[in-house]
């Protein structure tokens, strides 16, 4: 399965990706961005947007 992964050392938790995600799959949690596998379609918009380059699309 293809999934969104956040690099916690790069992510500043600004949570703008949450607003960009068309599927409301992302949530900001204490430890970083969490991705709901049920909702995520791996479109990669969050990765394209992230100001810190902290998000990648990976194969699980």
């Amino acid at each position: 399965m293809i999934m969104i992964e956040t690099d916690k050392r790069k992510c500043l938790r600004c949570s703008a990706c949450v607003g960009v995600c068309p599927h409301t799959a992302l949530t900001l949690k204490e430890h970083g961005i969490e991705c709901d596998k049920e909702k995520c379609v791996s479109c990669g918009l969050c990765k394209d947007f992230c100001p810190m380059g902290a998000i990648s699309v990976v194969k699980e």
Partner: protein, 396 residues
């Protein structure tokens, strides 16, 4: 600690939430503001620029606790290094502020007016009754509580999820949102009295670089970029900009910030039964320079006033709350819609066209460009060069 019922629950204690809270609390209605952060305004997602005209619109007096630097003018750089400098005629026209202090100051205003503000209280979902919003579920100290509200206002910023839960689609298109990265830097060589902006498709595709001074040798140095123009993440453009400038390269980094700025995607409808959206969550940001503090507060106040009326009339239906749509569009929306068009034209300029324009621009013109009155001026300038005529058509 918190009551089980309020007239209005506001989600988010940024400027939009505090603006709405002040407007509602003034009327004696019972207001609760819930903020998920541990400290209001921290970490900042902001260049911290605030114009005097914006402060006037907000009805906020300058306070030494949050003013860092007076701004007497600006310099705008074209890609080839040519620039337009402008000093305001009647003294300083803006400040670089300390946002952390400022946002708290606004929240305090809400409290002084009678609102209740609770931080580290994250709204986890909306409560609904017969399909209509009737309150929120909030997590405080790892404990979930349900609180009823006749109206819920989403002032939860760019990440707004609860508006979507209420059925209002606030998802941003990538082309409508700036990705921003910023360092607050010290020990750098800057013009400490003016703000600086750098334009260019290589340097900051779809946006610009800003240097907003906070002290003699301290400033917010940031960049905003946008898809589809940007090929890299914002932070890479920022590092690149700094790396090329010895006066910045030697500096220290006091803080790293990033965030998204909505510069489009205005919504005709920002309400539903018992529910309203304000501020960044409703994409209320100046689409030219990305300033959103003032828009957030003013939009919050407009929404708050309508909410207060609704509470008084005991009618919080969508039909009643729609008055906010109408008032906001009259007051701010029309102007912003124009500015979005303007932005679309500006972003299609090639570097060469930018360079050329600088020769024809005066500082005052640039000031006008951030207001809708800049339209006529831009058309005049563009009509001087046949190859730029195509842009005029887009403005019409």
């Amino acid at each position: 600690m918190i009551d089980k019922e309020y007239d209005v629950i506001i989600v988010g204690a940024g400027p939009s939430g505090s603006g709405a809270a002040v407007a509602i609390a003034k009327t004696g209605a019972k207001v609760l503001v819930l903020e998920k952060r541990q400290e209001i305004g921290t970490p900042k997602r902001c260049g911290e620029g605030l114009g005097l005209s914006t402060m006037k619109r907000m009805g906020i007096e300058k306070d030494d606790s949050w003013v860092r630097r007076k701004i007497i003018g600006f310099t705008a750089y074209a890609p080839d290094g040519k620039f337009v400098r402008h000093d305001y005629k009647n003294g300083p026209e803006g400040y670089i502020i300390e946002r952390k202090v400022f946002d708290k100051h606004l929240a305090e205003k809400a409290v002084e007016t009678g609102a209740r503000v609770i931080s580290r209280a994250e709204v986890t979902r909306l409560l609904k009754e017969n399909g209509k919003v009737c309150g929120v579920e909030v997590e405080i100290n790892n404990k979930k509580e349900e609180i009823k509200g006749k109206i819920v206002i989403a002032a939860d910023g760019i990440e707004s999820k609860i508006a979507r839960e209420a059925g209002i689609n606030t998802t941003l298109k990538l082309s409508d949102v700036i990705a921003g990265a910023q360092f607050e830097m010290a020990n750098i060589d800057i013009d400490s009295d003016r703000i600086e902006m750098y334009f260019g498709n290589e340097m900051a595709p779809g946006g610009y670089v800003w240097i907003f001074p906070k002290g003699e040798h301290t400033a917010n140095v940031g960049v905003g970029v946008r898809k589809p123009y940007a090929k890299n993440s914002a932070i890479e453009y920022l590092k690149d900009f700094i790396e090329k400038r010895p006066g910045l390269r030697k500096g220290s980094i006091l803080e790293v910030n990033c965030g998204g700025v909505p510069v489009g995607g205005l919504m005709k409808d920002m309400v539903t039964d018992n529910f309203m959206v304000v501020g960044d969550a409703a994409h209320h940001v100046n689409p030219i320079h990305g300033g959103g503090i003032g828009e957030a507060w003013v939009g919050g106040v407009v929404a708050g006033e309508v909410a207060a009326e609704a509470i008084k009339a005991n009618n919080t239906s969508k039909k009643f709350l729609k008055k906010y749509n109408k008032l906001w569009w009259e007051k701010r929306g029309k102007k912003m819609k124009k500015l979005i068009k303007f932005r679309e034209v500006m972003e299609s300029f090639s570097d060469e066209e930018f360079n050329w324009m600088v020769d024809y621009l005066k500082g005052e013109d640039l000031v006008e460009f951030t207001r809708s009155s800049g339209f006529i001026k831009l058309v005049k300038i563009l009509s001087k060069k046949p190859s730029l005529m195509k842009h005029i058509r887009k403005l019409m």
